[in-house]
């Protein structure tokens, strides 16, 4: 009989769980990291389009135009936002991101005719200057929030929560609280910033209504007011936001990213974007405001197919955050300097990671210069290069979107509809409320509810 090492991994105390416990025992504080949930959940990948055949006919790609213009904020605002595509850039702060990254985002969004969004930390001059359409976030922390910037933005987004941490406040660890960041936020330089999770001047939906009215009064009812929420009790929350007077509701699903949040939040709070979208649409339909109040969905949007499926399920637009950063070079093996690609695998290794796996935005040591306030690292992303990459990426998303829409016989991407989709899994069918492929079965729904 030969001796053997028995290596059967426990399903309960697997290597992941063991590493988690060892880490907790070593440090006594929970893990904080960037990016979004890594767990597998039903996504837009679990849906496919029923493109045209005999029962429907497609549009010709070269000759027949497919419109992608998108208007947000038509309910009460005198000046709604008019976008060339239904793809917007999500709120990410200067502080979490470098000034160069914010400028690159503004340039690309402006060139592609879409909007970008500030973040927890206020509006920088570079961002304002580079962004043709800038959505100004009103967050619980109110860092840098001021009436001059309120009056110079194209829309206000009241942030109640984020998909990566619904119910939690922002974080910015000391390495990123530089002198400039601290000054903008009225904080001591170099502290571990932990933001409030509730707004300082209102609590609850009745107050939210009055807060929205105040912002409308300050801006003379000119610009739209969005309300952004993390996806939890979506049906109720969307209805309350609509009742409170939102022009646009933004729902951020479980897969949404962050620059720094407790790991336990990222992986264990909120519902998947797919399920959240269907609930948000149901809420708007229930109030008979579908189309009057625009819906923006975010959290794990990556491809033009994701955008098309989101629109087919009822979104007016999507918002992209992590994908934006990846387009700028996040998790790339190299950064580009004077036209040359410079390998930074070693810098990833110093963080204990490698390209493709990095979630170390919280450290401020971003090897490709995006999520940093370090003066030397920041130079690794030049606004011109980053803007070009992001512009290209946005262009691809919109091309893929219109390609699928044409194939479904739609001359406008907003004509995509739920009937164009089927699901590949029972879970996705139930969450998205579309039939399982090859059947007329929507799990959890009777025929009369369709």
């Amino acid at each position: 009989m030969t001796s053997q090492i028995h290596c059967e991994e426990s399903a309960v105390f697997n290597q992941h769980a063991i590493a988690y416990i060892h880490r907790a025992a070593e440090y006594g504080v929970y893990e904080i990291r960037g990016m979004g949930a890594k767990r597998a959940v039903p996504t837009f990948d679990d849906l496919v389009f029923l493109t045209a055949s005999v029962s429907r006919y497609p549009l010709e790609g070269y000759r027949e135009k497919c419109e992608s213009k998108t208007v947000l904020g038509t309910r009460f605002a005198k000046s709604p936002i008019e976008l060339e595509m239904p793809i917007t850039i999500a709120g990410m702060s200067f502080g979490a991101l470098s000034a160069n990254a914010k400028e690159a985002i503004g340039r690309a969004a402006s060139e592609m005719g879409t909007s970008t969004t500030t973040g927890d930390g206020g509006m920088t001059p570079e961002e304002r200057q580079s962004s043709k359409m800038l959505v100004y976030q009103c967050l619980p922390s109110r860092y840098g929030f001021n009436p001059d910037d309120v009056r110079q933005c194209e829309a206000i987004e009241i942030v109640i929560g984020q998909g990566a941490k619904p119910g939690g406040g922002g974080m910015l660890l000391s390495q990123k609280v530089s002198a400039r960041v601290a000054d903008m936020r009225t904080l001591p330089e170099g502290i571990d910033q932990r933001s409030a999770c509730r707004h300082p001047d209102w609590v609850g939906p009745d107050d939210l209504k009055i807060k929205i009215e105040e912002l409308r009064e300050i801006t003379d009812w000119k610009i739209p007011v969005y309300v952004k929420m993390g996806a939890t009790r979506v049906f109720d929350d969307v209805k309350l936001a609509v009742k409170a007077g939102a022009d646009v509701v933004v729902i951020d699903g479980l897969q949404a990213g962050t620059a720094a949040t407790q790991q336990v939040f990222i992986e264990h709070a909120g519902i998947p974007t797919l399920a959240a979208l269907r609930l948000a649409v149901a809420a708007l339909e229930d109030l008979n405001v579908f189309g009057d109040v625009q819906l923006v969905i975010s959290g794990g949007i990556r491809t033009g197919a994701d955008v098309a499926k989101a629109l087919a399920l009822g979104a007016d637009a999507v918002s992209i955050g992590q994908a934006t950063l990846i387009a700028l070079g996040c998790n790339s093996q190299t950064y580009r300097h004077d036209g040359q690609d410079v390998d930074v695998t070693g810098d990833y290794a110093k963080l204990g990671t490698s390209p493709g796996y990095c979630h170390h935005c919280h450290t401020g040591q971003c090897p490709v210069g995006i999520t940093t306030q370090d003066a030397a690292l920041e130079t690794r992303l030049t606004p011109e290069v980053g803007a070009n990459w992001l512009k290209n990426y946005l262009q691809v998303l919109n091309l893929e979107l219109t390609t699928l829409a044409r194939a479904c016989g739609k001359s406008n991407v907003h004509h995509l509809e739920r009937e164009d989709l089927v699901a590949l899994t029972i879970e996705a069918a139930a969450m998205a409320k579309v039939p399982l492929a090859g059947t007329d079965w929507i799990p959890g729904w009777s025929g009369t509810e369709l």
Binding site: P147, P188, A196, D201, E217, I218
Partner: protein
Amino acid sequence: MECVKQLDLAKLTVRNVNDFLHNQLSGIQHSNGFERIEILNPNGMHSIAVGLDAPVDVDIFGHAGYFIAGMNKQANVVVHGNVGWSVAENIMSGSVYVKGHASECVGASAQGGLVVVEGDASSRCGISLKGGEIVIGGSVGHCAAFMAQAGTIVVCGDAGAYLGDSLYEATIYVRGKIHSLGSDAQEKEMQDQDFAKVAGLLLAANMDFDSKNFQRVVSARTLYHWNADEYQQY
């Protein structure tokens, strides 16, 4: 001779009034010489005189609702009555003076200017304060100066529970009893500059108290960094 423009909320909407204050004020000031605006019959309405950005005096006669004089710049607003939540929220400069009592969140996130309440203020007075100055003639409720980052709060009466919880660099002065201090708040001995600071703010607020009778509360700065040994709960 002082020129006064009256805006009667029994006849106008809040939107009419704010539109006038935002868009017609400076023209009238220059051409017709208006120096003071009187707003009549506020009757608990919200968002009156918000977003002002002009050196003008505004008197509101009666009780008013939420967010009065929110995000104010330059203007001096006096409310001859009580106010609801979040009076002078995010004020940048100028002053807001409440002759009566105030509900919650007085001067929330105020970045500059002076906010005075002659009577009492409810909970979370000066929450997220970012450089503004607040003087309360009476007492404040719980969690006053919660997460206050910069600026000064003077309380001439008592302070409720959890005063100065999670305080950053703002300073609180209290004349009466402090029910309890919040996390990371601590009392420190008054120094000469503190007496001078309190005396100056009392003078600006037109309040007749002796600065010698105030105590000072500041941050202990133990929450500024993660510390596993402290079992920080956030």
